[in-house]
């Protein structure tokens, strides 16, 4: 049936993600450089990977519910980028043997990225509270995306110089994507903040709800501290100023009041402390895969 099309256009596929969808780290040298603790490296990849996975899942909840079809397509693009980052990072964690308790349940046929995504328990997830909070309305979704993408972009920009070449490569690929995500969210925050009275009210409420979620984002865990010293990771405290400056700039222009910056607290999400909202999200994410632990998809 496709022959009829061949004359009409070149054979080159036009979707961004190809039809290959191979193993994320296929063909990559995954040797860990000397002086880096593989267990720490894997744990750090879970921190970064789980943030991406959980935020991708949150954004996917907008599909078939977004305002206007153009925005549907844009949100799907962001979610696909984040899903791609999650796959690479979880595969990197698996490649250094960090699999938590997932292998107790997942059979050999299941690749590392899926063992980690589908067969870890709640307390093994390392994402921050920032990404795990529910979407709320479109304003809250875009304010949260703005904040999360700004933080992540600042971290990834620095991670391009990581001593782990795999992590550095993942970061380099992610930087362009994250800049796009941040800018998309910023355009919306601007339009909602400076749009109608109602959108302004909603955007302000969104900022007021999202800002407190920054409390445990900038406190390094022991793993992050050790890896920062080893030249592998980025201490989140180091990006605080940059993040604050970008967010202030956007909110100011959006005629929104910048909420009080929350006091730092000890890491919670990063050490596996999560609320019922993540439990629910994981229930949906993992349910089918767990019903068929010996299946291949």
């Amino acid at each position: 049936m496709y022959e009829a099309l061949d004359h009409a256009h070149g054979g080159e596929g036009h979707w961004a993600f190809g039809t290959g969808f191979d193993e994320p780290l296929a063909g990559v040298d995954t040797t860990v450089p000397d002086g880096i603790d593989p267990a720490d490296l894997g744990e750090y990849c879970l921190v970064l990977g789980d943030d991406a996975l959980v935020l991708a899942q949150r954004l996917t909840q907008w599909i078939t519910a977004a305002p206007e079809l153009e925005e549907e397509v844009a949100i799907a693009n962001v979610a696909l980028d984040l899903l791609g980052q999650a796959r690479l990072l979880l595969a990197r964690a698996g490649s250094v043997g960090v699999l938590g308790r997932s292998r107790d349940r997942a059979t050999e046929s299941i690749p590392d990225e899926d063992a980690l995504a589908y067969f870890r328990d709640l307390d093994e997830f390392r994402n921050s509270g920032l990404v795990e909070a529910p979407n709320g309305d479109f304003a809250r979704t875009m304010v949260r995306l703005l904040v999360a993408a700004t933080v992540r972009l600042a971290v990834f920009t620095r991670l391009r110089g990581s001593r782990d070449p795999v992590l550095a490569a993942i970061a380099a690929k992610g930087v362009n994507e994250l800049a796009y995500h941040r800018d998309h969210a910023a355009r919306w925050v601007l339009r909602l903040g400076d749009g109608t009275a109602e959108s302004h009210r909603r955007a302000q409420a969104a900022a007021d709800t999202v800002w407190p979620l920054l409390a445990d984002v900038f406190t390094a865990t022991d793993v992050e501290r050790r890896l920062t010293e080893a030249g592998v990771a980025v201490d989140p405290a180091d990006v605080r100023e940059e993040v604050s400056s970008v967010l202030t700039q956007v909110l100011d222009q959006a005629t929104l009041r910048v909420p009080a910056w929350p006091a730092d607290t000890a890491p919670r999400g990063r050490v596996g402390e999560h609320g019922p909202e993540l439990a629910e999200l994981l229930g949906t994410l993992q349910g089918l895969a767990r019903q068929h632990p010996a299946a291949t998809w």
Binding site: A16, E68, E70, V73, A74, N77, D183, H184, R187, R191
Partner: protein
């Protein structure tokens, strides 16, 4: 109900009970329509690829990237409000540019030249 297989996914009602004419109230709610032009690769002209709705120029060019290039890099995109385009035949149903065969001398094939003339 009269049903016909038309469109991509099969039979749908096709009788007079299906309204087609727009009501102006909804049109006013919509974001403006933009036409999208993409330069697929260097060396080529921008080509019209389709249209989309956006609230303003900036959102339009980014939506165009999301929808019509699915974010492949290395292309150049133009967007223009459909309402800002001046067309050669402003009066619809005007046969101004109906195909006509009366100016064949404009076409290179009108001129018969022996095949052995070099570089023609």
């Amino acid at each position: 109900m009269s049903l016909t297989s038309e469109g991509g996914h099969g039979a749908v009602p096709t009788g007079a009970e299906i309204p087609v004419e727009p009501r102006p109230a909804a049109s006013r709610r919509d974001w403006p329509l933009y036409e999208v032009f993409v330069r697929g690769k260097r060396g080529l002209n921008h080509v019209h690829v389709g249209s989309l709705h956006a609230p303003d120029d900036e959102m339009a060019v980014h939506a165009a990237r999301d929808v019509y290039t699915r974010r492949n890099e290395g292309v150049s995109i133009w967007v223009v409000k459909a309402a800002d385009i001046t067309a050669s035949s402003p009066d619809e149903k005007d046969p101004l540019f109906a195909p006509s065969g009366d100016k064949v001398y404009r076409h290179p094939t009108f001129y018969e030249i022996p095949e052995d003339v070099p570089h023609m």
